[in-house]
Structures are given as structure tokens and as C-alpha cells.
């Protein structure tokens, strides 16, 4: 992954997102040890303090837990926590942006919903 510095999303959040993706796709399983701040710092060429902040974000959301002296580990139900969080936050924001843009273009509710249905349909076939 390449970090994007012009992005609205801070680097440490981008790190947290990347780690979440690794957990979601099963690369790091429940109760497995996650990358240390130093490993992340080397992988992404960032300051270890920035990497630590990314890890702490996930710890605060009960996705990771600390084992003293051993590092951070993935919580047993981390995938469910991430999925639930993304549904309520990320997806909600995307939907909000969709509605704002549609308003700018004077689209009505039906047109938006039709568009979404169409995309769902297309992706089902593909």
C-alpha cells in the first residue's frame, strides 16, 4: 500500500485502515500478534510514533488488545467489530456524500435509488 499525504485521512488512520483490511481478509487471525510499531514504521517508512498511534486507535476501539511485554494482539471478534463499525460509519458517510452530490445535481430520491439498484444488479452478474 502507498500512503497518500494529500489525503484528508491522516497517515495514522490510513495505517489503522490497512490493518483492519488485513484482519478482515483473514491475513491476521483472532488472537494472533499484529505488526509492531517498528515493523509498521519500516514497512511504510513512517515514524514509529505515528505507527503506534495507528495501533492505539484500534486498541481504543477494542479491535486489538495489549499483552504486556509481548505486543498487540487481535481481539477474538475483531472482524465483527470492524464490519459493524464500517457499516455504521464508513458506509454512512459514503451514503451521505452520495446524497449531497445528488442534491447538487437536482436528482430526486427515485433516481438515486434506481442508480444504486442498477449498480447492485451489475455487480451481481459480474
Amino acid at each position: 500500500m502507498i500512503l497518500d499525504n494529500d489525503n484528508l485521512i491522516p497517515i495514522y488512520v490510513q495505517i489503522a485502515d490497512w490493518l483492519e483490511n488485513e484482519i478482515l481478509c483473514g491475513n491476521i487471525g483472532s488472537d494472533e500478534k499484529i505488526y509492531s510499531q517498528y515493523q509498521l514504521a519500516e514497512m511504510f517508512t513512517i515514524n514509529p510514533a505515528t505507527a503506534a498511534k495507528g495501533l492505539n486507535v484500534l486498541a481504543a476501539q477494542n479491535i486489538l488488545y495489549k499483552k504486556r511485554g509481548l505486543g498487540m494482539f487481535v481481539v477474538f471478534n475483531a472482524r465483527e467489530v470492524i464490519r459493524e463499525k464500517r457499516k455504521t460509519q464508513t458506509l454512512n458517510t459514503l451514503a451521505l456524500n452520495l446524497v449531497i452530490e445528488a442534491k447538487r445535481l437536482d436528482l430526486d430520491e427515485k433516481e438515486i435509488l434506481d442508480m444504486v439498484s442498477k449498480i447492485i444488479e451489475e455487480n451481481r452478474e459480474g
Partner: protein, 300 residues
Amino acid sequence: MKIIQCDNVSKAYKKTKAVNKLSFSIEENTITGLIGRNGAGKTTLLKLLSGFLKTTDGEIKVFNENPFNNLNVSCNIIFIDENMSFSKQLTLDEILIATNSFYPNFDQTMSRKLLEYFSLDKNRKHSELSKGMTSTFNMILGIASHCALTFMDEPTTGMDSAVRKEIYKIMLKDYIENPRSIIISSHYLEELEDILEDILLLKEGTKFLHMPIVDLKEYAISFRGKVEDVNSLIKGRKVLYEENFGKDSIYVVIQTNNFQEDLNTAKANNIDVNSVSTNDLCIYLTSPKEGGISNVFSKE
């Protein structure tokens, strides 16, 4: 533990005050970026901290001692800049050997590997190197010395961007293996910012900001939209920069205490919103006068 402590430090050259009532402290094992416009006092500050210059006023403590004329401080610091003078007779290899005798933690093996990596011939003389190669060699010296406190003043002058990128990567890797305190001044903030922990921004010889770089990223936010929409949204806020463009559009950068909240409000009001690059933000914050370039060209 605090490795550097400055208390009301001033340094004057004749009548000009290069550093003016500067107070700050730096924690052990951090990488700090020293940023500021030309003449903001960066080099003077680094020379004061290294003990090359004596303060006019105030107190500096490096490893809890006054660095000026101090052997204990000298053997634990290294100061890298483009004016490092080595004997014209010495080859790069001989300089490495000499440096090794000064610094107990000097990593000979690594320094030679790095010379090879950057295709620097160890039998060449330092005075024969190109500008970029001189900077590369000096920086290798700074990294391999493994000093408890490393100062680098514009270390990448003349390097091409590939080398700049690589050498910072090497520095970070080495810092992870051998934690120590590093202070780097540079005008190329975008290439440096990712490896920094803290940023110290100087303006006219004094401290303007000193904070973790991740916090600086959320220090300001930019809005772009119709003049009236934007103006009603930013009423009472501290504007750091503004620029009119198009028929009735405006771009403003404002200080923010709640990045997420401002982001959402702007979005809800149909205003384009963006983060401000650290580099641009530092330029806005240290801008000497109101107005900007257009004032220079204005005929009024």
C-alpha cells in the same frame, strides 16, 4: 528524559537577533524537524545547541550541561551541514577512519556499505566530490556515527530526489535499530515529514509551534466555494490564508480545533473541503506579511 532544554535563549550578531527569547525542550529518542523560512534562525539554533556558538542571553542545557566549550557534549553530538571541512588530502576512507576514532559508537561496516550503495568511491578525495555527493557522504557520516544527538542542517542540499528518498529511509531504519535523538532542518518538508515525530517551527528567531506532526496535520482545514457561503461558515474563525479565484469563489485556510466537525459542517453546506499539506501550512503560518504576492504587483 529531556535531552535538550532551552530557556529564553537569544543570540545576536551585532544588532540582528538571529534567535530571540526561544524556549523549548526535546525528549530523548525523537526525530524532530526544524522548519522555518530563510533567516528564521534554524542554523544559528543548531550551532548554539552544538556548542559552536555562545548564547547572548538565556540558558541552554544539552544532556543537562551547557554545550558551549564542553567536551562531554561534543563527543556525544555530531553536526552535519554542507560546510563540513575535512583536510583536502584525505580520502573518503581516511575520513571514515578518523571519524571512527572520535565517536565510540561509529559503525564502520555500515558506513562502508553505504558508500558502496551510493556509488561513492572510497579512494576519492572529499574535495573532489560533486555537491550532491558531498551531501550524501556527510549524511552517511552523520548516520553511521550513532551519536546520542545528531544535528543535520539542510542535509540533502544538491541530492537528487531518488537519493533524498533513499537516505531518509536508511536513516529511519537505522533510527529504529539504534534509537537516538535527531534534529533535521530542511526546506523539503514533504519528503521528510513521514519520518518525523515532532515539528519545531521557527519564525523570526522564536518558537512558533512545537507539536507532534500528526497533530499539525489536523491543525488547519481548507474550504473552497462561493465567497458568501464560505464567509458565513468561517465567521469569527482564525483565517491563515485566503485567495480569491474565478468570478465569485474563494479558497481559505482556517485554524481548527475539531477537524472532523468542521469537515462535516462544510460538507453539509456544499463546500469543498480539504486538508492542508504540512508544507503549505508552514508557509502560511510563517508568512511575514498580510497580503501575499499580489500585493507586490499591485499598482496602488
